[in-house]
Amino acid sequence: MSEYTLIHLKELEAESIYVIRETFAQFNKPAILFSGGKDSIVLTHLAKKAFWPAKIPFPLVHVDTGHNFPETIEFRDKLVEDFGVDLIVGSVQQSIDEGKVSEEVGFNATRNRLQITTLLDTIEANQFDACMGGARRDEEKARAKERFFSHRDEFGQWDPKNQRPELWNLFNGLKHFGENFRVFPISNWTEMDIWQYILLKNIELPQLYFSHKRKCFVRNGTILSQSDYQELRPYEEVKEMQIRFRTMGDITITGAVESNADSLEKIIGEVAAARNTERGGRADDQRSETAMEDRKKRRIFLE
């Protein structure tokens, strides 16, 4: 390669930083939606690079379902302190207590759907007009057409037929009062890119990503962590397994994989040999073939 060629990870990094800076420059009140997963962690690191030596000039927003892995919350609080960035927490428990949403019942009850209301309320209360998320286009079919700047109407709705064309790197963030945008600066990264970047930059991750022993049970082929939030069926049994997680979500829905990968290098080896997509372990995506699109069209998507 010539002297003036960027390796592809550097080009992706430069693109994402450009998008983050555009978001800051074009909007009044941007924020990062921080899920505690590796994608939003990488996004936060990119935001730090985009404004250095200044601090990240907008807050992180975390929707706390109350069903998080404790490790996620610990990690979040440490990162916020290290980066000197503001944190705003939207609480699903509070939305439930205020009667805005009601808890799902049954064995497969999750708070996944409820967090949408909490997120929209948090956006409205703080008047955020651009929320950056760590979604990638390679994750799921419906995301392959997502824009960097994704327009939402005043009801938070995404209309796949009315998205603005995105040409060159000219991002159109113009909007009417009450409307807002989701911005996805790492749209063009793949799962492998994210892992390689984490390795290259030695980015710290929650321990949940690495192989560890955990009390788990298996439901519909998905390995789930035992927790206080989920009732077991009579025939389901809890056993100690050597597992790790490929994505971070609520403890009630995030599927684990059996794995001995206890280092980044080993995880990358696993990802390279993986036969299933990382979302394959998400109980929520398996509900129908167009599950993600349905969820997104209904209100919004979070990650």
Partner: protein
Amino acid sequence: MESNNYLDGDLLRFTTAGSVDDGKSTLIGRLLYDSKSIFEDQLMSVQNTSKKKGLEHIDFSLLTDGLKDEREQGITIDVAYRYFSTPKRKFIIADTPGHVQYTRNMITGASTANLALILIDARKGVIEQTKRHSFIASLLQIKHLVVCINKMDLADYAEDTFDEIVNDYEDFATKLEVEDIRFVPISALHGDNVVDRSKNMEWYQGSTLLHTLENIHIAGDRNMKDCRFPIQTVIRPHTDEFHDFRGYAGRIESGVFKTGDDVVLLPSGFTSKVKSLIQNETEVERAYPPMSVTMTLEDDIDLSRGDMIARPNNQPEASQDIDFMMCWMGNEPFQPNNKYTVLHTTNKVRCIVKEVLYKVDVNTLHRIEDDKSIGMNDIARVRIRTTKPLLVDTYNNNRSTGSLIMVDEATNNTVAAGMLT
């Protein structure tokens, strides 16, 4: 995917265009499948759906047709981005539908592409649509075209058929501004010459499609001569350690900047020198496209978003009268009497339309001068006047400073793309 080589490769963005039947989705599915970029759960889901539809083979197009609306209609309605990588390169495909009414999607996909992949059905040869795709690729200044003559299996893998199509295409291509055009005879369905060399076409001595994509040289396509640095935002930390720090954040759109270089600040015309270039959190000696950097200057000069840093002896033109090829993308027809917002580099201005010079027939490239009504997907040459000067180059010389979009002031929708002439 071999992860040991993963860090060495560069990035190639290419666009594909094709109609419902010429096997584009199958080709993309084949590239993803043969490069092992498809996961088992995705494949299983596609296998199941193929079976439900009563098909004997796996319908690869199901991998790429994502949204429910288009699956119901059986068409692709928008630009979809796909990813795959080989040990040599990472690829981003901007996959666009080929229907007449979706010129706007093709332009969107082509706007960020290094290369365009044009599909021709071996039984049909060069048709209007082939010409339209090629013309758009040329209009968007894509430097490399790879013309895949597909469905060779249905043309007896005949060399004559291939040669005839190549000749026809080359005749037509004299009208295009593309220097690098390559032809590959393939069968996407059976995989001939896609990733593996075909045993059915031993007369073909050239590279397979994937080998071509992996080896095409694109580093020379960037403009490394004309230094252009549009400012996105100003960084002022206001901390004790960086009390007087004032950095200009942006991306190097073209040219190479070095510390100590003389620079001119536009539009003011003041000059200064580059004091430092910061990439991420470290200082670098040189910055080149497409790096995102923060630049500091020797002199304390107040610059803001929309301003540009260039070299005193090589500056963009500052102009309020802008001539460009416009592709109309709005649902409503173009209204020459409306005012539009123009986004150009990091600048936002308003404009009025002075004149529609002519419309272009995208199938024949002929100028149409008697009908100047412009609707969705029409391409026309127009002249606008902006409220303040823009810092421009021609699109031929500079894809960044030579491009703009127009936004409808009532809806805020992006309604046109422009390439400056």
